[in-house]
């Protein structure tokens, strides 16, 4: 089974965001990681390969330097990686670039995280599946195989939907699907030798029909701290305050 995994490089979750100007985030000294949701996708791909054999290929769109981050994905056990180098990484551009390159591949499953922790967009899986004209099951917490069908548990609002699709299909995974493994020393060493193909995108089309600016949230003014050594007294103060704030 050939499995493609879409991986996005994101800022580390503990990063403090600093703006260069209202249009640009300062990325000096930033530590990068694989988007945590995409890590679940890599893990799931490896488990499927362990069961059925095949190949796991990482696909990513981003800056050239993200090669370093993609090596971490290879160290987990993926076979190879393809990096489409692009300055623009909005959902529309990324989906288009991925579609252009993936149409050339033969594959059974595309896996990815359902959302990225940086842009909070959750659009690429849906857009890409439309472009490739394959089914997408979104926000998936379990994948099973039965005959030639893929059976997914999709998270609804207080429900679990059981969805059946046939390959080739795309599945965007949610936390809870698995516990990602840690890279082994052997795999880390092997990852150094694994192949990362660079694909230089020629997509220079300007599709910026909307205007995006950034703003840091206002610093919250310090809250009221209540001493809890006398629970009754503390609780009464709290309830009084919550009534005043009209939340009770």
């Amino acid at each position: 089974m050939k499995i493609l995994v879409l991986v996005k490089e994101t800022f580390d979750t503990e990063t403090k965001i600093v703006l260069e100007n209202s249009k640009k985030i300062n990325n000096e000294g930033i530590k990068y990681i694989i988007n945590p949701y995409d890590e679940f996708a890599i893990e799931e791909a490896l488990r499927i390969r362990e069961k059925f054999g095949g190949e796991v290929v990482i696909y990513s769109v981003g800056r050239r330097e993200s090669e370093v981050t993609l090596r971490n994905g290879l160290a987990l056990g993926a076979d190879k990686a393809k990096l489409i180098v692009s300055e623009k990484i909005d959902s529309i551009t990324v989906s288009k670039l991925l579609a252009e390159n993936i149409t050339k591949e033969e594959f059974e499953i595309i896996l990815s995280g359902w959302i990225a922790i940086d842009d909070n967009n959750a659009q690429v899986p849906a857009r890409l599946s439309q472009l490739l004209d394959i089914p997408l099951v979104n926000v998936v917490t379990k994948i099973d195989f039965s005959d030639d069908k893929i059976i997914c548990h999709r998270e609804g609002d207080n429900t679990v939907e059981i969805i059946k699709v046939s390959p080739p299909a795309m599945i965007a995974v949610q936390r809870g699907i698995n516990e990602p493994r840690y890279p082994t020393v052997k795999n880390i060493l092997q990852a150094k030798k694994k192949q990362i193909d660079l694909i230089i995108s020629e997509n220079n089309e300007d599709i910026n029909r909307i205007n995006i600016t950034y703003q840091l949230p206002e610093v919250k003014k310090a809250g009221l701290i209540i001493d809890g050594s006398k629970p009754e007294k503390a609780v009464n103060i709290l309830i009084q305050k919550l009534k005043e704030a009209k939340v009770l």
Binding site: S91, A126, E161, I239
Partner: protein
């Protein structure tokens, strides 16, 4: 005349709160402009009182798809019919709640129309016909402001982003449309498992009581469940409580869990790691109960009690019981 299409969701014959909030906000705005509000309601059966409810939010047109095929969400069935509604009416904006359905359907439709989508919006400013959408990025550490230029854009709105609005009754034109014949059977919904307990949905809850490592065990969450019952709240958990196996993944609030925006968020025994704050920092009022005065949760809390949650929470539950009895 410009049109705005709102795709609403309903449950037990009532609009979902997030749909109500979107309609309220849009209706406040449309009253002062020339825009028309179109509302799309779908389902196997559409309760009569839903029409009244939607009409009370100033809808100009209510389009229904009342059909068995629309009982359960299936994108392969929904997209052709809804895309047709959009083509026929050419709205400027299409709104969804940022729900399981909205999050999935909206980007698919956006791609279908080769349009922009603005996900998880928490605020909208309107100036002279120009829309500016605010949405949190980087786990709420930054806000993105998106200004559109009038072309078709798809928007999902985070629940509890807009407050209550005043009703504005109109007599809408109501008509039903038939679903388009389906040719695509590539996506099959074979079953829907409902969660056993009438568990309150975290993302729509107005009040959330959340617990972390400080709870010490799965059993101790009973304390929070009791408090939640008195408040009509949902129970959430931090990542460490989930990782310890005390609560299901579905109750995790944070960067790799649910993002919530309740009126009141009560964090009990949660230290407030960045990963957790990412999921709840846009809550309206935050209360923290924690033994450790240095816990970072106190930096975002509006009201913090430094003390033992095992002493404080039961007292809080009892006191609130007295209030709600009156």
């Amino acid at each position: 005349m410009d049109k705005i299409l709102v795709i609403v969701e309903h449950k037990n014959g009532l609009l979902k709160k997030v749909s109500q909030q979107i309609l309220g906000f849009i209706s406040d705005f449309c009253r002062q402009s020339e825009k028309k509000i179109l509302v799309l309601i779908y389902g196997e059966k559409i309760a009569e009182r839903l029409f009244e409810e939607v009409a009370s939010w100033g809808a100009d047109e209510i389009i229904t798809i009342e059909n068995q095929c629309f009982a359960n969400y299936n994108p392969a069935i929904f997209i052709p019919t809804i895309a047709d509604v959009i083509k026929k009416n050419s709205p400027q904006l299409v709104f969804f709640g940022n729900t399981a359905v909205g999050r999935d359907l909206s980007p698919r439709l956006a791609q279908y129309f080769n349009s922009y989508m603005i996900s998880d919006v928490i605020d909208i400013k309107i100036e002279k016909d120009k829309f500016c959408f605010t949405r949190p990025v980087y786990g709420g550490k930054l806000f993105e402001e998106v200004e559109t230029n009038g072309e078709l854009v798809f928007v999902t709105v985070r629940p509890n982003s807009f407050g209550n609005s005043v009703n504005y009754h109109k007599n809408p034109h109501i008509y039903n449309i038939e679903p388009k014949a389906i040719t695509n059977f590539s996506y099959m919904v074979s079953d829907i498992l409902r969660k056993e307990s009438e568990e309150k949905s975290l993302s729509e809850a107005e009040i959330i009581v959340s617990g972390g490592k400080g709870l010490k065990s799965a059993e101790n969450f009973v304390l929070l469940e009791e408090l939640a019952r008195v408040l009509g709240a949902a129970v959430g958990a931090s990542r460490s409580a989930v990782d310890a196996g005390w609560r299901p993944y579905s109750s995790q609030v944070g960067q790799t869990g649910k993002t919530v925006k309740p009126k009141l968020y009560i964090a009990c025994g949660i230290s407030g790691a960045m990963q957790h704050l990412a999921g709840m920092s846009t809550s309206q009022v935050i209360v923290a109960i924690n033994k450790d005065p240095e816990a970072p949760i106190f930096k975002v809390a509006d009201y913090g009690i430094i003390g033992d949650l095992f002493e404080i929470v039961p007292v809080l539950t009892e006191e609130l019981k007295k209030i709600f009895k009156d």
